[in-house]
Symmetry: D3
Subunit: 132 residues, 6 copies
């Protein structure tokens, strides 16, 4: 099994709903360092899982839809509690849509899965993993 991982980051504001979140119920923010890993059992004829440059561009495009925003005000996130896990899920689903729509070219058919990890601080992160 092979995988390729690309990293980028985004800066957002949000608040979390639920007593369990304590002070994070207040409007605050985060720099999320985001890793997107693409998995495949085989390499293509170029010897790659997916072109690293292409993977980075797709991740950048997904993060651009969220960054420099207050997620509490985003219509596409209405009703979503934007925990780190939920953002990992959201980014993972959007990358999967792009893969299925052909954003990775011929590679899409070979991809077995992806893992999205968001690091919210040096001591905390969350991941979402799914098949493709």
């Amino acid at each position: 099994m092979f995988s390729v991982t690309v990293r980028d980051h985004m800066m957002i504001a949000h608040s979390l709903r639920g007593e369990t979140f304590g002070p994070a119920q207040r409007l605050h923010g985060a720099t999320y360092v985001v890793d997107a890993a693409f998995r495949s059992a085989e390499l293509d004829s170029d010897g790659v899982v997916v072109d690293i440059g292409r993977a980075g561009e797709e991740l950048r495009a997904v993060l651009a839809e969220l960054e420099y925003r207050n997620l509490d005000d985003e219509p596409s996130l209405a009703g979503v509690n934007t925990t780190t896990e939920m953002l990992a899920l959201l980014i993972g689903e959007r990358l999967a849509e792009r893969a299925h729509a052909g954003a990775f070219g011929a590679a899409a058919g070979r991809l077995d899965g992806l893992v999205v990890t968001l690091h919210e601080s040096p001591v905390a992160s969350a991941s979402y993993e799914r098949a493709l």
Copy 2:
């Protein structure tokens, strides 16, 4: 599949038994940077695997029982060769006990597994993974 990972560290002294360890048979020490990852197939109604703050507190409590100590003198570790792998196992088992005892509240029932990783230096680490 989702996971949440929290990080903390501890500083301990110990020695290792066995010729394979060479100079590490002498009394020395380590700063262990410890990652504890909790895995779950589903998120709870708050949108989390387990509250990151709670996870960090539980990891802190487990490390507090070991840190600033000479592990060679710890009664609870008598007869244990405290390799990085064995410490990962020990910390993983203690976190699992806490999960089963309800330390993570309602989340405990949903947790599928945990992975504990100890980084002993920038070039070496060991992990222990188990189901919950």
Copy 3:
């Protein structure tokens, strides 16, 4: 010359005023990883610049006044453009006040200066340095 550096972090929301900031003029947020370095030409009788534990507590106390907040709404920051440089200045001044008020005990008299560095992402940081 000696120095001791402690690290902590905080998560905040804010917006920046000025066309130069482009999309960062919108309400967004950041995880700031904060390093506070204390400098002294001499060590005290314990062999330290300042106790690392004490230094960490003072930095924690200063960050606690800011974290999990929308800085745009903080009365103490009214009129301040909360750039990374300005936040480094603010945190540095607050640490200096604490040093002068005796928070570091006898060490305060020996301290020559401090440097506060805020990392806003893996690719950008800002520092403020001053004498004590």
Copy 4:
């Protein structure tokens, strides 16, 4: 399940064949930070997956065959497109050969698998995972 991971690095020159690689078709180079993880369901009588020192020496030996070279001119790599994925595969296969040849001593029989990860920059990496 347990694992032990050791890290080292190598500096090489190479070029990549295929339009997908854009400017990386030109002769350039990389510092690869290489992680080799060894997995085992059980620990040996010393309490380890494999001795960390031994694991590091084996990884060093494999990287020494490649480092400070132009991979385009290496006879053993003739016809290979030396992408990060292909180099992970190559290093993984060479470590597996060494394991099967007894380089890890009695441990080799217990090892279940290995994962080799090459970080080519702070924002891109590739992995190869195989059973042993």
Copy 5:
């Protein structure tokens, strides 16, 4: 005193001339992680040393002239032994030229100096510092 630091990276091939370099006399390569720090005694009316986005763009432009190349074949580097120190000097001089040519706008007049640091591996780096 304030400073702002931006980070980027480049991948190049080269060889070093001189017996002191041992195996690095062979054609090999490196991923250089490059930090460029800009220093100023005062902040401008926006509260910055220099806009972080602008600083990152200027660093990117300078690295783009070098990356994905074999430096041994670069006409602009003919006769230069491209050690890490020499590349730090080269990048620092090019950033200084851009500063003097107005690339940082009004900020250029206030800048006191810059420091360029190249990390060639996790265990080695070199810096060049100059006044502006």
Copy 6:
């Protein structure tokens, strides 16, 4: 001004004397990640401050005298409170002795100073800086 920095690490046991140290008065240990920076106003005819390989070997030799030991039992450290600052001083002085004894060859005469930094955990470090 130029500098070259090399990094290595060591694992030791020790205890600290003085009430200020709290639980660190007990025998414990640390992995110290050690950076040694060598500064010079000029480069030599090879284009370096000091050969990075040579610098790394000298740092390794100094750390080898301390690592895998209980510093409380080291005759050469009798009466020394081995705080992070004191260990930075000790390592800095030993590197300076080596520089003066010609360990860095012709480079020694050009070196202006050195800085030794010990990272004892991800959140704490100490430095010692001196002229050469």
